[in-house]
């Protein structure tokens, strides 16, 4: 995964609340066996609306998306994160995110930035005219108008994003601890250990 440091550029002022993953990428696009190319189906139903922010030439290739509360609710499809990546989006700013979406975004190197609604409103305003900068190291969002909004991020997630770490590889290195758990469980709760071997 590419390490994340500073994300700078135009931000798509979307702003909608409760954007579900069916809106981010409709089910008909899920039939792929690859992670690539999903940007074509991203926000398909929104793009059917005249004057939508996604087809505004000013936002072409914008690396940041600004959205409302509960972004990414609904299905667990990681295709939503892949679709955003394929559009060129590397960070989403919103007052809140669904749990599954923020996990999926993180695992694909997309930064989810949680800011209070009034700061998101301010960024929506700025985004119409000017670029926005997100700095992971200092955990701040800044604008050319001297706005400076600090944000919180889980230290482990920050570390993985900054280093571009592969979480599977990290956990595989804990194989001994996992084996020790399995040994304990097969003694104390053997009914969980037998799985499909039971029949």
């Amino acid at each position: 995964m590419e390490p994340v440091s500073t994300i700078e550029g135009r931000a798509i002022p979307f702003g909608r609340k409760n954007v579900d993953t069916d809106v981010i990428i409709p089910a008909r696009w899920l039939k792929t066996i690859s992670r690539e190319g999903l940007g074509r189906g991203a926000f398909e139903t929104v793009r059917a609306e005249p004057g939508n922010v996604f087809d505004d030439p000013a936002n072409a290739g914008a690396p940041i998306l600004v959205a409302g509360d509960n972004f990414g609710c609904g299905s667990s499809r990681e295709h939503a994160a892949w679709a955003l990546l394929d559009m060129g989006v590397k960070a989403v700013i919103a007052p809140s995110f669904s749990d599954i979406f923020s996990g999926n975004a993180f695992k694909n190197g997309i930064l989810t930035v949680v800011l209070p609604q009034e700061q998101v409103d301010r960024l929506m305003e700025v985004a119409r005219e000017q670029p926005i900068t997100i700095d992971l190291e200092t955990q701040t969002v800044t604008t050319p108008f001297q706005d400076r909004f600090p944000f919180e991020i889980d230290p482990f997630r920050k570390h993985c994003l900054a280093e571009g770490l592969d979480e599977v590889g990290l956990t595989m290195a804990r194989g001994d601890a996992i084996a020790a758990y399995e040994a304990r469980q097969s003694q104390a709760m053997a009914w969980y250990a037998q799985g499909t071997q039971a029949a």
Partner: protein, 477 residues
């Protein structure tokens, strides 16, 4: 430490901690992993690229469900019929190839036990109380109905579980939803969970695991509990739980992958300890009076957009939050509904009885009870019943339910996810309405432009009879 009263969630969590890191993240062991064709191809591909194997293929079960057509799967000679859509065919073929390559038990499209993963897991006794269960599908929450900590994951996490049988997680907050009293006759588990989502909102459970508590859930069948927990995710919670009890044990006993003999007895003894302790504290608590729950339908494009069947389409201005007003306007525009319209006057052209929410035998019996001796209305153009699994289908046929549906003018189909999300050919035409027993009324969910009204199986059957959203209690007797 051990004497501190704990919630059911905390007990299951504590029993699965491999190790906890300084930042509070824990490596959590996963007991059961269900895999389907849509969210797994990229995970298997990543394993292949990195030269990695599946750590515990025996704790993994693969079943195709999302893409499968629900029409006949075998020709007259008993040979598998090809899948017409090349992309669906490719995705199904990938799972059929990946499962044996990685040593995973595979229940294929023409296997008698095939079905929707969330129906198959409990039905096969693969899902067990107190287990951690994951699947690349948000409705994995369903398995909480047997007292498992079950939640949906993304494809990167599918890969992580395949490779390590663990997930790195932070402890969730806990949300108690206590329902007091008794549900009125004609009011089902589906009506209750829709009502609950209406109360807490689609983000009400974000960051939380819900435990559903109180006499209503204790009296419920396992199947109804699966329905309730299935839609926990529609309230924003990754998991919902109902404490396992004698009803759960009776349901699981003797199922193919359930423990047997002395191991079964030991397991049950442990499962009996899986109850929230007296004095345990939830981060949040919501109390609901069962008497307030009516047969419930949705009017908009979010599962929180619910109203009792006797109610009317709300006016956007009736919401306090300006952004909700805006969302409601957009919803009503999409749904083609005017504020003030009685829900009972809303005509439907399509009926879908199925999905991981409502496709078990109890659901089909409830729908058949309404349809027996009746016929669908002329304005209902398309009405399908899609059993949750081959075993549900066989059971329904043994009870003659298939004949009830067919005589009533409904189609009796093969198992799968079907029109819940329309990844297979089962879609609702643009601009038409569907009374659907599924879980999401999102824009375009059942097909581009499709208008979904979420209802219980009995309510879907009632809508089929009258051709409009109907209070099933009016058809009783």
């Amino acid at each position: 430490m051990a004497s501190r009263p704990r919630t059911l969630y905390e007990k299951i969590w504590d029993a699965h901690v491999v190790e906890t890191r300084d930042d509070g993240t824990s490596l959590i062991y996963i007991d059961r992993h269900l895999v389907h064709e849509v969210t797994s191809p990229q995970a298997f591909e990543a394993l292949r690229m990195a030269g990695r194997t599946v750590r515990r293929p025996d704790l993994t079960l693969a079943v195709p469900d999302h893409n499968l057509p629900t029409t006949a799967r075998l020709d007259a000679a008993g040979q598998p019929l090809p899948i017409a859509d090349p992309e669906s065919a490719q995705q199904l073929a990938a799972l059929e190839r990946n499962a044996p390559e990685f040593g995973i038990r595979y229940i294929g499209a023409t296997d008698a036990a095939q079905g929707i993963v969330h129906v198959v897991g409990p039905e096969q006794g693969f899902s067990l109380p107190g287990a951690t269960i994951v699947c690349g599908d948000s409705h994995t929450a369903a398995h909480g109905g047997i007292g498992a900590l079950a939640f949906g994951i993304g494809t990167s996490e599918v890969e992580h579980v395949l490779a390590t049988q663990t997930l790195l997680l932070k402890r969730s907050k806990t949300l108690e939803i206590r329902v007091e009293g008794e549900l009125a006759p004609g009011v089902t588990a589906k009506d209750l969970i829709l009502h609950i989502i209406g109360v807490i909102g689609t983000a009400g459970g974000t960051g939380h695991v819900i435990e559903f508590r109180g006499p209503v859930f204790e009296a419920m069948s396992v199947e109804s509990r699966l329905t309730v927990c299935n839609m926990a995710i529609e309230g924003g919670a990754r998991s919902g739980l109902v404490a396992p009890d004698e009803t759960t044990f009776a349901y699981l006993k003797g199922r193919p992958f359930a423990p047997q003999g002395a191991l079964w007895d030991e397991a049950v003894e442990y499962w009996r300890s899986l109850r929230t302790d007296e004095g345990a504290v939830f981060d949040k608590s919501v109390v609901i009076d069962a008497a307030d729950v009516q047969p419930t339908v949705t009017w908009g494009t979010s599962p929180e957009d619910v109203v009792a069947i006797g109610g009317t389409v709300p006016a956007p201005e009736s919401f306090a939050d300006p952004s909700k007003q805006d969302a409601a306007r957009k919803s009503l525009d999409y749904m083609g509904l005017a504020p003030g319209t009685p829900m009972r006057e809303v005509e439907v052209q399509n009926i879908f009885i199925g999905s991981c929410t409502n496709s078990r035998i109890e659901d089909l019996r409830a729908a058949a009870d309404v349809l027996r001796g009746r016929h669908k209305a002329d304005n209902v153009k398309w009405a399908i019943v899609v059993p949750g699994s081959g075993l549900v289908k066989a059971q329904a046929e043994a009870e003659g339910l298939d004949k009830v549906f067919i005589d009533a003018g409904l189609e009796w189909r093969e198992p799968g996810c079907s029109a819940c999300l329309g990844m297979n050919p089962d879609k609702v035409p643009a601009g038409e309405r569907c009374a659907s027993t599924s879980n999401r009324n999102f824009v375009g969910r059942q097909g581009p432009g499709a208008r979904t009204h979420l209802v219980s199986p009995a309510m879907a059957a009632a809508a089929a009879v009258t051709g409009r959203l109907t209070d099933v209690r009016e058809l009783a007797g």
